[in-house]
Symmetry: C2
Subunit: 128 residues, 2 copies
DNA sequence: CCTTGACCTTCCAATGATTGGAAGCTCTAT
DNA sequence: ATAGAGCTTCCAATCATTGGAAGGTCAAGG
């Protein structure tokens, strides 16, 4: 499989596949005589894994750990769970932060006439 | 006021003040004979405005618009409200996205024993 | 056989907001 | 006079991703 085919098969585009290789997330692909990267099913499997993990918001560093845990048959599920739990915590902190912004903005917007007059509680709040 | 004093007064550190100047968020500060940036109360006021807007998650581009609306006495509150509303929408989309991740992860974590065994539904999910 | 176009390679750069450091100048206080 | 704090500019790194340029390779069709 060429990188383009692996990209279609995994849902990770060629640019990112090369990038993941360069930062060590995935092992260095074998090369054809002409220097083209060559992929097997197992490589596509790793790429799909990475894609799913990205979809759950894990950082590349965390994904590197997840991949190595996945590959390591002597891992303990507690290691995986710890990684997941701490990630959930970070996500929830971020959500709280964003929700607080929304709450503030909603409150301010509610009191903004939104008409042709210049008077606006949103700007007033920012200015104080 | 020097940049350091303006930083304390506004809560925006000197590095960021220079950065905001360089990208045109705030007007270019006047200079002392020695080339030091000199700030007045009104400059600090803008900086505080920017800081508050950042705290509400607005992007620098949006903040640039907000500052210009704030400075423009012929603005309409509908312009401000539109900016705020579209920002709220983006925030809520982000929250939904993060919440979906949390939901999935919580579900997977719940079924993960988190003990010394290697078996782990989190990895299994990522691998499928 | 040769050309065309699609694909591959590497390298460099940009995004957005922030932070860090280096090298060098200015100010203040001792 | 000198030390130390603060200022200046410039360059670089973060994080994940995307874009482009310049050049090599492959497969198909004339």
């Amino acid at each position: 499989m060429n990188i383009g085919e692996a990209a279609v098969a995994s849902g990770v585009n060629p640019k990112m596949i090369r990038h993941y290789e360069s930062i060590g997330i995935i092992p260095k692909a074998q090369r054809s005589e002409a220097g083209y990267r060559v992929y097997r099913e197992s490589d596509v499997h790793i790429l799909s894994f990475v894609k799913k993990a990205r979809g759950l918001g894990f950082s590349m560093i965390e994904i590197k750990k997840l991949v190595s845990l996945w590959r390591n048959k002597t891992r303990t599920s507690s290691e995986v769970k710890a990684l997941s739990t701490s990630h959930i915590k970070k996500l929830e902190e971020k959500i709280s932060e964003l929700q607080a912004m929304v709450d503030t903005l909603r409150h301010l917007s509610k009191h903004c006439h939104g008409d042709s007059r210049p008077n606006c509680p949103i700007l007033e709040e920012l200015a104080n």
